[in-house]
Subunit: 326 residues, 2 copies
């Protein structure tokens, strides 16, 4: 498949670039631990392919792609501490391997490199106003991610949250960085306001779909693929679009059953029962419809660009994100 080949190619190039920041100390090993252990490099892929779509290139978009991946990984390291997660990509998380203090510092270190890398790489390459725009976007998206992660945290265990609040939360926590990826990619290629705006919309829309798909997988994903039991988001008390929809629609009797597992340590049997109730409420189908809505809108935005190999592969990516749940 073309998409997988291209993802793999970009992954190798980005990984090689990221390795260059290492100074070989334990602090740098901690900072690069999660990056070294896997990941699809979706955000670099988006930045680079969007740049190509608009007449740019892999070369010109690479520094932005690297910074986006560093930013993403900084949030993963800190998120894992906050969520007390022990594993990611099948390996122990940074704080599990190196302790919380080093994990905090190594995340901060990656965050610093996000900006250092942009200035060092683009100083004499891109017009200064474009470099500024990239720095501005990366700082803005960082603020959004913090706000989104905090919203996510405060929503934990809540059964009644307006869907707009959920959508705002995932737009900050997840979609904003997808949007920043296509935005930065576009900026490396063009100053055309409309093109940059469309690129941003495309990123935002697939980002929204990506998170909703993730929420679906966190509820009914194949444990062999997700590495988590069916209903794991339920056990963790995550107020996802699915849980919120289910609580709006289930009977009082069913709610009592779901309450027994929501945000509580619970057996896989009880979890499966609760997930069945949620499926009966139509909440999984509801979330799938939402994901489909975002993907279709994303593809509609993308179809405004002239046909090209980059457009085709971005369409493929949109389909790929969507089909993870089928």
């Amino acid at each position: 498949m073309i998409l997988q080949d291209r993802l793999s190619q970009i992954r190798k190039i980005v990984n090689k670039e990221i390795e260059k920041i290492s100074k070989g100390t334990e602090l740098y090993d901690a900072a690069l631990h999660i990056i070294r252990s896997g990941g699809k490099r979706l955000r670099p892929f988006l930045a680079i392919t969007t740049s190509e779509l608009m007449g740019g290139s892999l070369e010109i978009a690479l520094p932005a792609a690297v910074s986006l991946e560093l930013l993403h990984n900084f949030t993963l390291i800190h998120d894992d501490i906050m969520d007390r997660d022990d594993f990611r990509h099948g390996v122990p998380t940074v704080h599990k391997m190196y302790g919380v203090p080093t994990a905090i510092l190594s995340g901060d270190l990656l965050f610093a490199f996000v900006f250092k890398n942009i200035i060092s790489s683009y100083a004499d390459v891109l017009p200064p106003n474009r470099v500024s725009k990239i720095v501005e976007k990366l700082s803005e998206v960082s603020i959004q991610i913090c706000e989104g992660a905090w919203m996510d945290m405060t929503m934990e265990g809540k059964k009644v949250v307006p869907e707009e609040i959920y959508l705002e939360m995932i737009s900050k926590k997840t979609a904003a960085l997808f949007e920043a990826s296509t935005y930065c990619g576009a900026i490396t290629a063009t100053e055309d306001v409309k093109m940059v705006k469309n690129a941003s919309s495309f990123g935002y829309l697939i980002g929204m779909a990506f998170q909703i798909v993730d929420d679906i997988l966190g509820m009914v994903g194949d444990p062999k693929k997700t590495g988590k039991p069916v209903g794991s988001d339920l056990r963790n008390g995550k107020a996802t679009i699915i849980v919120l929809h289910a609580y709006r629609n289930m009977s009082r009797k069913d709610a009592l059953i779901v309450d027994r597992v929501f945000g509580k340590p619970s057996s896989e049997e009880d979890l499966r029962e609760a997930v069945k109730i949620i499926e009966r409420c139509g909440s999984i189908s509801y979330a799938k419809e939402k994901a489909k809505f975002y993907i279709e809108n994303a593809k509609a935005v993308l179809s405004e660009f002239d046909e090209s190999p980059s457009r085709t592969i971005l369409m493929e990516l949109a389909n790929f994100i969507h089909t993870r749940i089928y």
Copy 2:
């Protein structure tokens, strides 16, 4: 005293600017908690006064001053988590008040604003190459601070560390941000390479002195002023210039006594005995001499600038940092 008046004036202006980032949520309250509870705003003072010294102004240096203070406070929030400190400025630390996850996020949030604030404030005010230089310096100093904090952590409990390593550690952990403060202040006023270089040196040198003075206060500071018992650094196992000098010079018998308290929970009586031994080794005098050396060099660098009210007040600051130990 002119210095104190000016510090107080700058503090008020900087505090007011920083308040503008607040969105009123608990996350922002957590982020601003330490800033609101006190602090001298030394770094903003340095940036602003250095700018004035070179023909700039408070107005032009203010955004850089704000970013430097945000950066400083981001490191304080994360440091307090890492060191498990319960109090700062006489109030509970952020993680004590809001929990570790919110503290991590609120630090990250301030860090993001460091860069957002520079771009938003300077976009149409400073030439783009100078904005880039400020962003670059802020990202570089962030990297240094992470590396310095990590060195500090790994040196904990060690009795034998070469003094060069200690000096490298404090230069990254502390002096680098003082250097960045005078550098950024200078850049807001001039592109004269020599002037910027001298300004940086001045910042670096008083930063080194500041940390050594801090280490002296952590050993023999007045508990009423420091809020910590005599010898608290010793109890915490901090490998400061004083401890390292003492271990190089004390008898085996004395070392056994100091070993009993170094990095261990210990009574104030045992601590006082160990501190007496350290004083007898001449380690406090040694550190005072070092601090004096950096201050005198800082003043020599400063004296290369023409006389002006800004120069006078920076001289006063250098003296003030030094006289904290007398």
